[in-house]
Amino acid sequence: MHEVEMMTYGEAIREALDDALAKYPEMLLIGEGVPDPKTIFATTQGLREKYGAERVLDMPLAENGMTGICIGAALAGMRPVLVHQRIDFALLSVDQLVNNAAKWHYMFDGQQKVPLVIRVIIGRGWGQGPQHSQSLQGMFAQVPGLKVVMPTTAGDAYHFMSAAIADNNPVLFIEHRWLHHIMGEVDKQTPSAGLDGAALLREGRDVTLAAFSHMSIEALKTATTLAEHGIDVEVLDMRCVSSLDVQRVAASLAKTGGNLVIADCAPEMASIGHQLLSKLVLAHGHCLQQAPRLIAYPNHPVPTSHFVANHYYPGAEQIVSAVLDMLDRSELTEAVIGALQSDLPKDQPDRSFVGPF
């Protein structure tokens, strides 16, 4: 009988790291702050004490070099998990990630492998500003040889992290900071789904909502509220961004009559949603009933000021508008959005999340 535990997304990551450290003596967990008192938003808590300072360690501020060092260790048989508290810092290591990690197995004709996980966190909120809250999934998802995942649920966080560590390839594991506190079911016994496929978060008949990471949460919120108005939205979480599950979206569209809304947490011009839509059209020309919608951020950096940053991020409201407009039910928009309204400042995911962080 399976034991299903309830835990937060952040705890699920900690669990996965813990279990993997126990399972793989060759696993290393390294990153700025990994063993410090705040332990990467508590996701590495207790691990140094449990597995020792040789395997769970801090590192110098040298993102490119340390990525290369982890690649070298991986070549020698280790399984490093390298953590950056912000995905923005991974931009310093694009050379090693793209030129080496992603290509190594291929360019050495399969003779060597790089089992490496890079954990990165999208740092929205509390005035993180232009350099500390970028969404770069689209940029990294287009690198052949690099697997890029961005799980949304606690269950996926656990299983994807486990699968990423078990994988013999470099995997970029993207967390959205606003997922960390969300509770979900983790069933450790259910074999990991691997690192493939979209997840069906909610079944529906009227519209297909293909969403990414934190936008899947917004999509679910929308779906719940819309259901009260008799509108039945199917929510797909497109969690594997470097191998988009186009097939699954097409199947959903067959059911929903070709009504597609895509919601990504990235600027429009950087959205992997474009790739999803394009692949869909290339492979399934006539699957769309009408012009689809892409909900994404504006094409400029995130300003720090919370007065405007709050308006930078689209959420459930924008999804509602798009869905209702598509179904020609715009008369409901006001009512539905009213029901979604919250008095929480938009630069905090929940009350417990206060500055600074």
């Binding site: 801090d58 500003g129 919370h306 007065f307 405007v308 500055g355």
Partner: protein, 331 residues
């Protein structure tokens, strides 16, 4: 090395500048709890002597680049206090229009070009700026009229871009000062987990910079080391490097103390507090009878007023409009 003390009037002025930064940051810390300054904020309390001792030698023509911990550099360089506060609140009147918050400061009129929070990000920019200044001035008889200063931490020194920038700076003999604020921590990680035991400034020296280290908590020492360095740079003797030892008192990011977290050795913070740059200077001023209690109290009063007024002005700021958010993607 022999420390050429600043003149008495200068020392008083240095004290005043340090006190101004301290009181401004204390006020920020106090008000931060109101949850209205909604941005990551790195205070430099305990480290004021460095910004002040260095910037004392800079004119408006000289430029400063800084990092995430930039309030002190900004104020010491003459950056506008009310606009700094407005920036923290996210108002349109902020020095960055509210777009940057604490980690992105600028005051071009004061020669404070920019601070940004990607560690190491501004280091090569400072060198590029100095290079441009040098080219503009080339042909000038007496070295460079203006110099550029880059402030950064011990953690930053680990980034490869430091090495790339030092190499270029020495190659081109740039009028550039590297000021390394070695507070022994990168966030909560002590130096020993990040760097081997050896001196940072000696690596700079091996690159060919004029490099020296000193006590970053003694403003007189910083002042005289910086004086020599600024003069050297101004006179065309190439880039200079100061490694200055100091300690941050509050938490890495945020308004609070965090000694309870236990990442500092026991007693470490307390010991550094005894070596408070303000305390030490105040003692000198009083002992040498360069000042007295009355004058010091007067300073406090004046600063309290200035800071209060700055907050009042800042809090009357206007919210940037949503329309304005779309502006200035391209020049």
């Amino acid at each position: 090395m022999t420390v050429i003390s600043p003149a008495s009037a200068d020392l008083k002025q240095l004290y005043y500048q340090m006190l101004r930064i301290r009181r401004a940051e204390e006020a920020i810390a106090r008000r931060y709890a109101e949850q209205q300054m909604r941005c990551p904020t790195h205070l430099c309390i305990g480290e004021e002597a460095i910004a002040v001792g260095v910037c004392a030698h800079l004119t408006n023509q000289d430029k400063v680049f800084s990092n995430h911990r930039g309030h002190g550099h900004y104020l010491a360089k003459g950056g506008d206090l009310p606009r700094l506060l407005a920036e923290l609140y996210g108002f349109a009147e902020g020095c960055c229009g509210g777009r940057g918050g604490s980690m992105h400061l600028t005051d071009l009129a004061a020669g404070f070009i920019a601070s940004t929070p990607i560690v190491g990000g501004t280091v090569p920019l400072a060198a590029g700026y100095a290079w441009a200044e040098q080219m503009k001035k080339s042909g000038a008889a007496q070295g460079c009229a203006s110099v550029v200063v880059i402030f950064f931490g011990d953690g930053c020194f680990e980034e490869g871009v430091m090495h790339e920038t030092m190499n270029f700076a020495v190659l081109k003999q740039l009028p550039l000062l590297f000021i390394c604020e070695n507070n022994q921590y990168s966030v909560m990680t002590p130096l020993a987990e990040r760097q081997p035991k050896r001196d940072i400034y000696k690596i700079a020296a091996a690159h060919g910079l004029h490099a020296i280290s000193g006590d970053g908590n003694r403003v007189d020492e910083v002042y005289s080391l910086a004086q020599a360095a600024v003069n050297n740079a101004r006179n065309g003797l190439g880039p200079q490097f100061l490694e200055l030892h100091t300690h941050r008192w509050p938490e890495h990011c945020g308004p609070n103390e965090d000694d309870d977290l236990g990442y500092r050795s026991p007693g470490e913070l307390a010991e550094w507090k005894l070596r408070c740059p303000l305390l030490q200077t105040r003692q000198t001023l009083l002992e040498a009878q360069l000042s007295d209690d009355a004058e010091l109290t007067q300073m406090e009063t004046r600063l309290a007023e200035e800071i209060e007024q700055a907050f009042t002005w800042a809090l009357q700021g206007t919210r940037p409009t949503v329309d304005s958010m779309r502006q200035h993607l391209y020049a």
